[in-house]
């Protein structure tokens, strides 16, 4: 593992991009930061600007308005970056698949590195997902 990967995978800064979700994944993401789970112990913090982020957390089914925003956000993340699709909606659009306002799924807009399914995924599942992602990023040549 080179120094760049090591620096990148330590203390991940997360930008949370909500693309028309139902809020539930979002409150569970915030829940990860609060005392019971407290991922800030590992240097994982939510940042206010996408330009400071290492990871883009995407929730929800993009609609016509948020689709453009997500594209724009991804173009602004400093590369290399990781993209995580949180929740069943972001992973596969589930029951909003037939909606007239749901043009495509998240992975058709941005390349997704990890999928965390669940409606909503428990905070433990999100932490497990991030751990797997870090392991994957570190094992990459």
């Amino acid at each position: 593992m080179d120094i760049k990967t090591e620096a990148f995978t330590k203390s991940l800064w997360v930008f949370h991009a909500a693309c028309s979700p139902c809020n539930n994944c979002d409150i569970e993401i915030l829940d990860c930061l609060t005392p019971r789970h407290d991922v800030e112990r590992f240097g994982i913090v939510l940042v206010g600007s996408v330009r400071h982020a290492d990871v883009l957390l995407v929730t929800g089914v993009p609609n016509f308005k948020t689709k453009e925003t997500l594209k724009k956000l991804y173009s602004q993340v400093p590369k290399p970056c990781l993209v995580i699709a949180v929740g069943s909606c972001a992973c596969g659009r589930v029951m909003f698949r037939d909606s007239y306002n749901s043009p495509c799924s998240v992975d058709e807009i941005v390349p997704v590195d990890a999928y965390i399914p669940g409606c909503p995924p428990k905070p433990e599942a999100m932490i497990a997902g991030i751990v797997k992602l870090i392991v994957k990023a570190r094992s990459k040549k």
């Binding site: 909500a18 979002d26 019971r36 308005k65 306002n101 909503p120």
Partner: protein, 394 residues
């Protein structure tokens, strides 16, 4: 020199069922006007509902909002039961009431925490969310999921509350009471919180009526409306509870009302557990007749309204949903104007709409379209004001 700039807040936000985008027009520090644009989180739920059969719609409307994820299916089931004149077994009514009140506790704690975060008291945030965890454990124990409980079903509930779970539920409520006491003291007696919230974002009684505001936001301005008392549904007609009210209409009153409602909710759940009868919890509905029905539920944020029309097939012909924030958000038009930018974050949050949107705020110069402040700066500005007041007050 007056320098008019625009503060766009939004555009998409994660913490609420209605999407909105605020454009604040400011002169110096003062907010002079506000525009509200919605549509960013539009997923076509009403139309999707017409393509699903009646049982599936209960799951669909649950996904309108993650925080009110019981109120929407509750209102939908009431609408169908009104349509088909379906009698719900008494035990199911009690279970529905318990879930609805647990949801109110979790939602109000969530709001208190985020309100604390916005005025720079992260301690309040961490406290509130720490005490919210046992409530989510309750949900997990009773319904099997922390959020999106999937308890509501046309004609009853999906799962029973088992006798072995009730002592644990009572224990969690007993432990929550001292936490809320501590919280009440910490918020109501704190001079800095008072300095930040008293007489900020005031909504007078007349404005509340004019803008059709509902829920705790209306009750804080002296408009005494609550569907639970005015048109009892579920088991609310069988339990005793007070509706906390205030007159001032500022953010402090809204906070106090929400804290008082926590006590009322705890008391309602205890009464329900005491008098809950044994027996069936599902009416086993086979056919939905043609007709139309409405369902009204007092969600944590106010009245949630569902209208369903059926033509005798297994799908609704029309499903209309009006969630409480739809009207509450519009009242920001009067609550925000006249205040300062540093108060805008908490004023917009006071009706319990969404928080993450304010974190994505950017102040844009109207002439050059250049970004001056982003959401982070806005929250920082708000937090700095608290720091400043802290030094001044103490």
């Amino acid at each position: 020199m007056s320098h008019k700039i625009v503060v766009p807040i939004g555009p998409y936000h994660p913490l609420q069922e209605e999407p909105e985008y605020f454009r604040l027009y400011v002169e110096g520090e003062k907010v002079v006007d506000i525009d509200i644009v919605i549509g960013y989180m539009h997923r076509g739920v009403e139309k999707l509902s017409e393509s699903k059969h009646f049982d599936q719609v209960a799951f669909l409307v649950e996904r309108i909002c993650g925080i009110c994820s019981n109120s929407h299916p509750f209102a939908y089931c009431l609408a169908i039961e009104d349509l088909g004149k379906i009698e719900v077994p008494p035990r199911a009514n009690f279970i529905r009431t318990i879930i609805a009140e647990l949801e109110r506790i979790h939602s109000h704690l969530l709001w208190l925490g985020l309100a604390g975060h916005f005025i720079g008291y992260n301690t309040v945030w961490m406290w509130a969310w720490r005490y919210r965890e046992p409530v989510l454990d309750c949900f997990e124990m009773i319904t099997g999921n922390r959020n999106h409980y999937a308890m509501m079903k046309i004609g009853g509930v999906r799962r029973d509350i088992e006798d072995k779970d009730i002592p644990a539920l009572r224990k969690i409520l007993d432990e929550l009471c001292p936490a809320v006491d501590m919280f009440k003291g910490a918020i109501m007696d704190d001079p800095v919180i008072q300095a930040r919230l008293v007489k900020v974002g005031v909504l007078t009684k007349q404005e509340t009526i004019d803008w059709c505001v509902v829920g705790p936001t209306a009750r804080a301005s002296g408009v005494d409306i609550d569907v639970r008392r005015d048109e009892p549904y579920g088991a609310y007609g069988l339990v005793k509870f007070n509706i906390p009210a205030a007159k001032d209409g500022d953010i402090f009153s809204k906070t106090v009302i929400r804290i008082k409602e926590l006590y009322e909710s705890i008391s309602i759940i205890r009464q329900c557990l005491d008098i809950m009868p044994k027996g069936e919890f599902d009416a086993d509905v086979k056919q939905i007749p043609p007709g139309e029905g409405i369902g009204r539920v007092e969600a944590p944020r106010g009245e949630c309204f569902h209208y369903v029309k059926s033509d005798g097939t297994n799908r609704p012909v029309r499903h209309k949903i009006r969630a409480p924030s739809y009207v509450n958000v519009a009242s920001n038009k009067v609550a925000c104007v006249g205040g300062t930018i540093s108060d805008a974050a908490i004023t917009l949050a006071a009706v319990d709409p969404c928080y993450c949107c304010t974190e994505r705020t950017a102040v844009v110069d109207r002439v050059s379209d250049k970004k001056i402040l982003n959401g982070f700066d806005l929250v920082k500005l708000s937090q700095e004001k608290t720091e400043y007041l802290k030094k001044k007050v103490i």
